[in-house]
Structures are given as structure tokens and as C-alpha cells.
Amino acid sequence: MQGADTAWILTSTALVLFMTLPGLALFYAGLVRAQNVLSVLMNCFAIAATVSILWFAVGYSIAFGDGNAWWGGLGKSFLSGVGIDSVSGTIPETLFFMFQMTFAIITPALIVGAYPERIHFSFVVAFSVIWVAIVYAPVVHWVWGGGFLAEMGLLDFAGGVVVHVTAGISALVLAMMLGPRRGFPNEVQPPHSPGLTMIGAAMLWVGWFGFNAGSALAADAAAGMAMTVTHISAAAGAIAWSVMELIRYRKASLVGAVTGMVAGLATITPASGSVGPVGGLVLGIAGGVVCYMITQAVKQRFRIDDSLDVFAVHGVGGALGTLLTAFFVSAALGGNGLAEGMTMGSQLGVQALGIVIVAVWSGVLTAIIATVLKMFLTFRVDEETEVQGLDLSLHGERGYHNM
């Protein structure tokens, strides 16, 4: 066991939990109506609590238990067999379990952005828990648990496919099944607090250091480089998105800048262990520009109310970064070099295949899970509740009291 690596992963675990609580929760809460601010915070918080128990019960085992190329089995349920002295790599296995748990928390929490202001709370909780067990945990096993995608040579250092593609596709499917918010697209209300969104985004930026540099699972040169490319990509994404806004509106908005930052971060995530600083710069710019355009398309062209743009920013960003990794991993472009016997082309094939498989898997299963759950739980609240806002109706609370 390595004390230094342990120290850094202890820290990274705190940083990644911080990304969801309160980071992502605030990022999303600022973008909805004031009457739904608490429901969004509650969605993220409840997901964190319930998924943690699910991960402890079976999730971790499915993802990292021994087993076959498809899943890890239930041998490590409730951490059975994992004692205080168990080691995973150079760190305690309990710590590895915790670090991975924070990923299992934030992934379904990302999906919260697809359905706010109209979904029923009990559906959110039930769906998220089941989704982590059935959709997410197996994918983790395939990519990071020695499963078949790992064997194929898929490069996904910190979760472009595992986290962002799964969440992005599932978000899109849920948004289509749930239907748009009342008044969408022309009469939905603007973000009630861009400031909250910026605070959350800032926490995401900081926390992402734990997400990407922590994925090195060591306090070493790889972690240093991962942090570097992550930061450069975030900055480049923010600038790229803002430039797009400046061109179109002659104004750069705060919400736009932070959204571009998240796009840059989602894009660099799969690449953060493979590419060099220049690669980070290119991926960030690409992420900012492409995600900006897709955001417009999904809402305006396709009229899908993926309310907070989970698919356009995370799904697309994660997939884009996964593809671009095939190029920028090459030493010629400043990366760590392609794997033995891989060419840019062959690597690109692997990356694309991985994306497709995981996208289909996530989309189909999400549709099935939601369809089944709808039989037992309220999927969408009634119109009066939606008009009044979910905070008071579903949680008996109000976000802001004046008189």
C-alpha cells in the first residue's frame, strides 16, 4: 500500500462527492424556476443517499467483483470479503470502493437535468437506483472492471463512455418519454438564479481535478498531467462557447461560459490519461463548439425538452472526447502513444464501437426500466402541481420565503 497514493485518493473521493453535493445540485438548481429549486436539490441529494446504499449492496460487486467479461457477479455484495486490510492497487480497497462510489453517485445525478420541473420524486429515486444497478454498474465492469470493452482496448480514462455517454443517452430517452415542460419551447421560464449555477459550475471545475487526476489512482506524473489537460480543456471549452455566443448575440453570458466549461470537461474526461496539453486545448475547443451547436439542435430543431441539456453537453461531449482520444493519444500529437499494435484508425474503431454499444445499452434499458416503473409509480406530476412548482407540492417546502 502506498501512503501518498492513498492520501490523494482520499482527497479525490471528497472532491468527486463535492462535485455532486453541492456542485452539480447547484449547477442544475440555478437553471430551473424558483418554485422547483428545492426539488432539483432534493433529486441530487436523494440520489446520492440511495445510490450509495445500492452501490454498497450490489453495485460495487457487479462492477468490480471477479466474475466474467460481462459482469462482476454478487460476490462482493455488502463488501463481503473486503476487510480493512484489503488492497486494490496501491490503495486500500475500501478507499477504491469509495472513490468509485462517488462516480456511481454523480452519473445518475447528471440525468436529473433531463426531467426537472415535472417528474415525480418517487420515480426519480426508484429509477436512479435501478439504473445504477442494471445500466451503470455493468458498463463500469466492461470498461474498468476488466470486462470486454477493456479487453477490446477502449480508452476511457475517467469516464467519457462510462459516465457521460450512459447518462447523456439515458437523459435523452427519459426526456422524450416524459414529454416537455408546460410551455416548452417558447414559454418556459428563464433560469431563476444564474449565480447558483455558476457556483455549482465552479465546484464542478475544482472537483473534476479529483475526478480526472484521481482516476490515475496515484499521486504521480499521470495525475499531474491529467490535472493539466483537464484544466486547459475546461478553460478552452468556456472560451469556445462564449465566442459562439459573441458571434451570434454580441454578448457572452455567464450561463454560457460555465456550460462551455462543463462541455470542455466532459470532452477531456475520457482522454485525460492519454493526451498532452495541446490535446487538451483542442478537445476543449471542440467540446465547446460542438456541444453548443447540439444544444441548439436538440431543443430548437428536434423540440426535445432535455431541459438542462444533459445529452447535448455530457453525452455529446463524452462521446466526442472518446473519439478524439484515438488521435491525440498518439505521441505525434503529444499523447502517451498508441497501444502496442494500434493505429489511429483501429483505435478510432474501438472507441466508436465502445460508444455505440454503451449508447444502445443505456438507451434501450432506460426505456425498459422507465416503461416498467410507470406501471407502478407516477411518472409525471399533474398540470396544477407543475404550475405551482414541485417544491411545495412534493416536498412541502418553499425555496425562498420573504413575508
Binding site: 414559454e187 411545495l392 417546502e397 418553499r398 413575508m403
Partner: protein, 112 residues
């Protein structure tokens, strides 16, 4: 001239604004208010303590109009604000003695 004060449900504001435009009213003033009446507020509960919310959010619209359009305006507001549910609100009509447009000093109907 008359000074019309209408209390409506918040999400009806845009409908009412459009309805007023429909009868040629291009100016109004709105504000957030809290209403108390037949419609009761929901209780809030924090750590087991229940808080009866007596006042529910409403929007107040104030619009000054010429005498001849008062009825159309009242009807327009009524139709736009009506959801047939308790709490839809009220429309009050007061007499308006004079009006002045700050910018130009115009008075009476011209000021509206």
C-alpha cells in the same frame, strides 16, 4: 377614467397581458402579492413542525383605462384569468380622477 385592480393567479399574467392587448390596452403595472381568501395555502413541514401558510402567491395587475372600455377590459381579464378554480381572484374598479405621463406631461386619456 377608471383604475382597475385585478388579483390573479401568477401563471395567468401573460394570458391577461395578451387579452388586454386584444382590447387595445398596451400598458399596465403588475406586482407580486400574497392573497388570503377561500383558497387555502398548503402547509409546509420542517423537521416535524407544521407551518400553515395562510397567504398564497398572487399577482396584482393595475391598469388605468378610459371609461368606455372598462367593461371590455374587465371581461378580458376575467376570461383570461379564469380557470374555474377557487382562488382565481378578483377585479376591482376604482374611479381615476386624473393621469399624467411623466415624460411628456400629457394628461387624461393621452397619458395612458
Amino acid at each position: 377614467m377608471k383604475f382597475i385592480v385585478a388579483i390573479i393567479k401568477p401563471h395567468k399574467l401573460d394570458d391577461v397581458r395578451e387579452a388586454l392587448a386584444g382590447v387595445g390596452i398596451e400598458g399596465m403595472t403588475a406586482s407580486e402579492v400574497k392573497g388570503y381568501g377561500r383558497q387555502k395555502g398548503q402547509t409546509e413541514i420542517y423537521r416535524g413542525a407544521e407551518y400553515q401558510v395562510n397567504f398564497v402567491p398572487k399577482v396584482k395587475i393595475e391598469v388605468a383605462v378610459d371609461d368606455d372600455v372598462v367593461d371590455n377590459v374587465v371581461d378580458a381579464i376575467r376570461n383570461a384569468a379564469n380557470t374555474e378554480k377557487i382562488g382565481d381572484g378578483k377585479i376591482f374598479v376604482l374611479d381615476l380622477q386624473s393621469a399624467v405621463r411623466v415624460r411628456t406631461g400629457e394628461t387624461g386619456s393621452d397619458a395612458l
